[in-house]
Subunit: 134 residues, 2 copies
């Protein structure tokens, strides 16, 4: 059902500092920062093999990563995104297995323009997991 890791999302408090840390200190190739006001974040993409690292900086007043950064002021790993072929079938399977889907269970259109949903971290080793239909 889960095919591969689409990306690992890392929340960062300051994108300029993150650019120095990843682009200069680690020496990886980073994209230009992309503001996504509809998702409350600015994103830098880092291609790593067949997966990606996404650096997320809060954008606007109600960013979904603000609370995480209050608790983790240096930043940190926020979620892992797995690809699925059929997000409604995946959701129904997960609910049948007793997993809790965040929100009302309806997939939303995510930052890549594709349907996504999130599984409750308490159901998966304290790890926030996003599913994206590709």
């Amino acid at each position: 059902m889960l095919d591969k890791v689409n990306h690992i999302a890392i929340a960062v408090p300051d994108m300029d500092e993150a650019k120095r840390q990843w682009g200069q200190k680690l020496g990886v190739k980073i994209s230009a920062p992309l503001p996504q006001p509809e998702h409350g974040v600015t994103v830098i993409f880092i291609e790593m093999g067949d997966t990606k690292i996404e650096l997320l900086e809060p954008l606007g007043e109600a960013s979904p990563i603000s609370r995480f950064l209050e608790q983790n002021p240096d930043g940190g790993m926020h979620h892992i995104c797995f690809e699925v072929k059929d997000i409604l079938a995946a959701r129904d399977y997960l609910i049948e297995q007793g997993a809790r889907i965040l929100g009302d269970g309806t997939p939303k259109i995510g930052a890549h323009g594709k349907p996504v949903l999130f599984i409750h971290p308490k159901d998966v080793s304290g790890t926030l997991i996003e599913l994206e239909q590709v």
Copy 2:
């Protein structure tokens, strides 16, 4: 310098529960648990595309993930491992860029039998990063 994501390590407080969560609730194929007493963990491997998820449960009295689990009792993402071709060249580049290597800077033999080192999380968005020479 950093080629691809070798694995994403997730610390779990209870491997039996993690097996249910990942193997049953998420429906992914999990390996048998592999005790690695010399590294203070028991590991389950989950192949995902060209990367892996590794579930780590503490083993023994002085497990390197015990403190993380005290702070994150449900478990959580512990580190990301990137592959490098030459770990000494990578270390020297990182030090030159002002990044701090944990320990005395000498690569140790990691859980896959290959040389590894860790970069200080304060230098990389609060994220613990392992480098493994492959």
